[in-house]
């Protein structure tokens, strides 16, 4: 593949950068690009190169550093470099930033997408002996709402583990946050 000629205007560079970022996948949920996840907040042309502003998902997400590296590699490979990444913590990332397309991709991948957080800002009243989610989590395989939580935590910080009581398939749920 021959590299494309670098775009000449800032506007074209930014547009091309967004295109490229749309192909950078989350290493832990490879069904989604970093744009689908909503963690790319801005692409800003700076004198020293493109600034890519990312908002981390979880404080301790071990994928954050890998994502930074992949984003820079992709942008530089597309001939748009040099680039650098800035982390922006506020406002905090929320699963509301996952695009509608991203939610569909999650479901197709077998992960139940997050619903809306229970209250604005994700605040929840402390509920003791919670055996079921506040809102049912539909099974991504058969669509049944008869599901139960197996584990509040899953293989990554952003997911919990469920089981469908109809089709009996276990599945992961992207926690609303």
């Amino acid at each position: 593949m021959t590299p494309m000629r670098p775009p000449s205007t800032d506007e074209a560079r930014i547009a091309r950068a967004w295109e490229v970022l749309g192909t950078v996948l989350d290493p832990e949920v490879p069904a989604l690009s970093v744009c689908d996840l909503g963690i790319v907040r801005e692409v800003v042309p700076q004198p020293e190169g493109l600034e890519i502003v990312l908002t981390p998902t979880y404080s301790g997400c071990p994928a954050t550093e890998v994502i930074e590296r992949s984003v820079l590699d992709a942008v530089e490979a597309a001939g748009l470099g040099p680039a650098h990444v800035t982390l922006r913590r506020a406002p905090a990332w929320t699963t509301d930033w996952i695009s509608a397309d991203g939610k569909r991709k999650l479901r197709d991948y077998g992960i139940a997408p997050p619903g809306a957080p229970a209250l604005p800002g994700g605040a929840v009243p402390i509920r003791l002996v919670r055996r079921q989610a506040a809102q049912p989590v539909p099974c991504p395989h058969c669509g049944s709402a008869r599901t139960e939580q197996l584990s509040a935590f899953g293989a990554t910080a952003c997911k919990s583990l469920y089981r469908c009581l109809d089709c009996r398939e276990p599945f992961e749920h992207f926690k609303p946050l």
Partner: protein, 257 residues
């Protein structure tokens, strides 16, 4: 052997390290459960919570280093301080105990952190407010999960109840320290950096009281014992944690994965 760093113990630095060290040391204790929890789901839960806490600690230590102004980064602050320069309350450094002990401590600390992050969202320091905006969501989830276990075990079988009662008797003696007032907290409250820990006391007792009530457990009577970790004077357990945490960086300065 890498020498220790010399810390500027200004109140605002100590204030942020108290919180950062609370997250860091509890993360270390929770990480010890990896491969040892009674069921796989809880093994994963403990590790997940440890990761969240570690991420929060990294952000706070980084900010503390910036405010300190001696070019100490998160790694130097985590690995190259002397024991007396760690300011976590003694509660979080106690050995992990059994599962009941760990989940009760998690409920106590998560409740404290949740209340702390809620207040820190309006910190006069924009970076601290941003860290809090993220961490609050994680702390709520941790509190919910831990409280759920306290109720299940407390209001459970004879065995689980006796374990929970024993844990409560051991841990409750470390509560008074959490809410002691001092000049570090006073300065933070005055500057708007964050609340005094004593400001959270009433809300903490309200929430923990509700959890223990539901678990049919009684709050133990007060004792005269007062721990002092927040002042840098730790229990005998702290040195062992630090030895484990620090030996690699001390022996191989700057070593990276």
């Amino acid at each position: 052997m890498q020498a220790s760093i010399e810390l500027d113990r200004r109140p605002e630095v100590q204030y942020l390290l108290r919180l950062g060290d609370t997250c860091l040391i509890l993360a270390q204790r929770l990480g010890e459960w990896c491969g040892h929890a009674p069921i796989l789901e809880e093994d994963i839960a403990m590790s997940n919570m440890a990761l969240d806490l570690l991420g929060q600690a990294r952000a706070l230590l980084t900010r503390a280093g910036e405010i300190e102004g001696r070019a100490h980064d998160e790694d130097q602050l985590a690995f190259l301080r002397e024991e007396r320069d760690y300011f976590n309350p003694t509660l979080v450094e106690l050995p992990r105990g059994d599962f009941a002990f760990s989940v009760l401590r998690n409920a106590m600390v998560a409740t404290l952190l949740k209340l702390m992050w809620e207040r820190l969202e309006s910190s006069s320091d924009a970076e601290v407010a941003a860290i809090a905006g993220k961490a609050i969501k994680e702390a709520r989830y941790h509190q919910q999960h831990a409280a759920d276990w306290v109720v299940r075990l407390g209001d459970g079988t004879e065995e689980s109840r006796s374990r929970m009662e024993a844990a409560l008797a051991q841990l409750w003696r470390y509560v008074p320290e959490l809410f002691t007032a001092d000049a570090v907290d006073e300065a933070a409250r005055a500057s708007g950096l964050g609340p005094a820990w004593s400001d959270l006391r009433e809300a903490w007792f309200g929430e923990m009281g509700a959890v223990l009530d539901e678990a049919t457990l009684a709050i133990p009577a007060d004792t005269a014992f007062m721990s002092t970790g927040k002042r840098g004077v730790h229990s005998e357990h702290m040195g062992y944690i630090l030895a484990e945490m620090q030996h690699l960086q001390r022996a191989y300065p700057g070593g990276a994965w």
